[in-house]
Symmetry: C2
Subunit: 337 residues, 2 copies
DNA sequence: CTGTTAGCGCGTTCAC
DNA sequence: GTGAACGCGCTAACAG
């Protein structure tokens, strides 16, 4: 009877659901997608039939017919940074249960690679893209616009219209650290940074601006290469040789600060006795290291969660009032400062 | 002319490529998929036409027609553990450029959730699955078998036939640590562990077995919950109260060891003077912490790389001689032991 | 609010 | 070694 079964998936199809429910395929399709213009009675019949058959929609067929997949691409600068992994996981947690596939676009802090990643992922016709920051190439932006793909930017905020963003003010965070140092009576301050992406630069600017407003100059030691614990120690050592009087250092991330703490310990330099340290991101270990590290707790998990929900709203065609979601940050003061 | 363009993607299709190359669609299809039974001359014509048009295959159409997607699912116990992220990244690096989509299946150390994740991902008809470990539920294994999905297991090895695995011997690694302690004259040894998955248990067994062979008993402090830096400090403190004479501790992962190092420092306990520490995985920070942590360097990146290549071979239908790839491990001896 | 028609772009089948 | 025809499972369009 089922002589065609050789090629078929074997799984129940929409046609069978529709047949069982006594409606047409398209009505079944609409009912299962919660299209509002369906008689509630029919809709529930369809849902019952679907359940009875154990129907699972075929995403490939859906994508082919609608020219839009159920995949959301998440563009992150790196996976080596725990930061983005936590955001990614939050996104996953929101999107997967709703039937979306989440695809990682790791662009290794390279905007050219980001553009290439976008171009490649366009083949699967993603239904949405979550981006880190705002500094994609022009070509990237044009690609996304031309393909009418909803975008949500993460980690930073913008005042631009028509742009959806979820994050916090990097500048304000930098400024908060500056004020913290000043309040503690520190005056010989430095910003030590690596992996100089837009956010790292911006938080440094906030730091320096706040200091300048207080009439304090800031030292700066910034290297473009990747950040690491070992590098933190090296940069601290170098800075200390150049400026032995430095009494407060803001490291652009916790990893650098950890390395500096270890280096200080090896050199017998008291933290915060001689020099105070502040990190950024508040990684798990920062609350336990000796001395416990003062840091900015960034809402990376919430960023992912809110960005994902915002994307859901856009995908549903909902009216979004707040295009900008400011999740803030928290200065966690501990022993190191 | 193109009045139907409304629904079409606008992108060039296989039919256009075939037309330009002067062959039938199916020949173009075969040529682009490197099916061997195609005249090399025609094949190159097709490739030229494809390039000329900027043709990009439509994955959804391919999936629908072949009932198999270009997606590989990677099942990991957690993303909070940097370990698996590095493996995942390596897999990504191999598979993405070859046109595969990599989907994360985070099962949060729950085998039931793993089964559910598999069941959910089956809807997209993945062409392959990479698993962490061997202890999936029976139902999981049956699902994968019934759907004829190629599987590669990571992180552990097995002697079972018909099973592909890439990793190293957890037991041998544990045993190596035991021998290291013994060689250093330590005799009052303990295994401290959390997040008791199969691999954590196995490396503990290797540790204890090697000690037993040397006539040494092992203390053990194992808790089922998630691992963390803070927990490492707590467990160390607890163990020390119960057994003040302990002189060597093997922590099932570096995070626990880090926490213990900080706790020891706070209590003024000398490491390795009074008690030696060894961790597992050799995270980046372990080479810098004070004292630098002795640890087992696990080949997690290579595991991902080799697992991905093994999967590629299986997908290509190639003959695979070595179903088991042992990547080994390295005991990195540092100051803490 | 519902149904009919007509594909979406590709790979499988089976002839040649 | 190559091709014609068909169908994968679903949704967009438009009419009713």
């Amino acid at each position: 009877m089922r002589k065609e079964a050789s090629r078929a998936t074997g799984r129940p199809t929409l046609a069978e659901v529709a047949h069982l429910a006594g409606v047409s395929q398209i009505t079944a399709s609409r009912a299962l997608r919660d299209v509002p213009t369906v008689d509630p009675v029919l809709a529930s019949k369809v849902r019952e039939a679907s359940k009875a058959l154990g129907y699972v929609p075929n995403p490939a067929a859906r994508t082919l017919a609608s020219a839009r997949s159920q995949s959301v691409v998440v563009l992150v600068p790196a996976l080596s940074n725990q930061l983005f992994v936590e955001t990614l996981e939050a996104i996953h947690t929101v999107l997967r249960p709703r039937g979306y596939d989440v695809l990682i676009g790791n662009f290794h802090y390279s905007r050219e690679e980001e553009e290439e990643v976008i171009r490649n992922y366009l083949a699967i016709q993603p239904c949405g893209i979550l981006l880190t920051g705002f500094d994609g190439t022009d070509a990237s932006l044009r690609l996304l616009e031309a393909n009418k793909i909803p975008c949500v930017h993460m980690m930073e905020l913008t005042k631009a219209e028509d742009v959806y963003s979820v994050g916090f003010s990097q500048e304000d965070a930098g400024a908060a650290i500056a004020r913290h140092f000043l309040a503690r009576g520190r005056r010989r301050l430095a910003y030590v940074a690596a992996q100089l992406d837009a956010r790292v630069i911006r938080r440094g600017e906030g730091f320096k601006r706040a200091l300048a407003e207080a009439g304090v100059d800031a030292l700066e030691l910034a290297v473009p290469g990747p950040s690491s614990v070992g590098l933190g120690g090296e940069l601290f050592d170098k800075l200390l040789r150049q400026h032995p009087d430095v009494d407060g250092i803001f490291f652009c991330n916790d990893d650098l600060a950890h390395g500096a703490i270890f280096e200080a310990q090896r050199q017998g330099i008291s933290v915060p006795g001689r020099v105070a340290f502040v990190g950024f991101n508040d990684l798990q270990i920062s609350a336990h290291i000796v001395p416990r590290l003062t840091s900015i707790r960034t809402p990376r998990e919430d960023v992912g969660k809110h960005a994902a929900h915002l994307m859901l709203a856009l995908l549903a065609g909902a009216e979004v009032r707040d295009r900008t979601i400011d999740l803030g940050f928290e200065l966690v003061v501990r022993e190191s400062s």
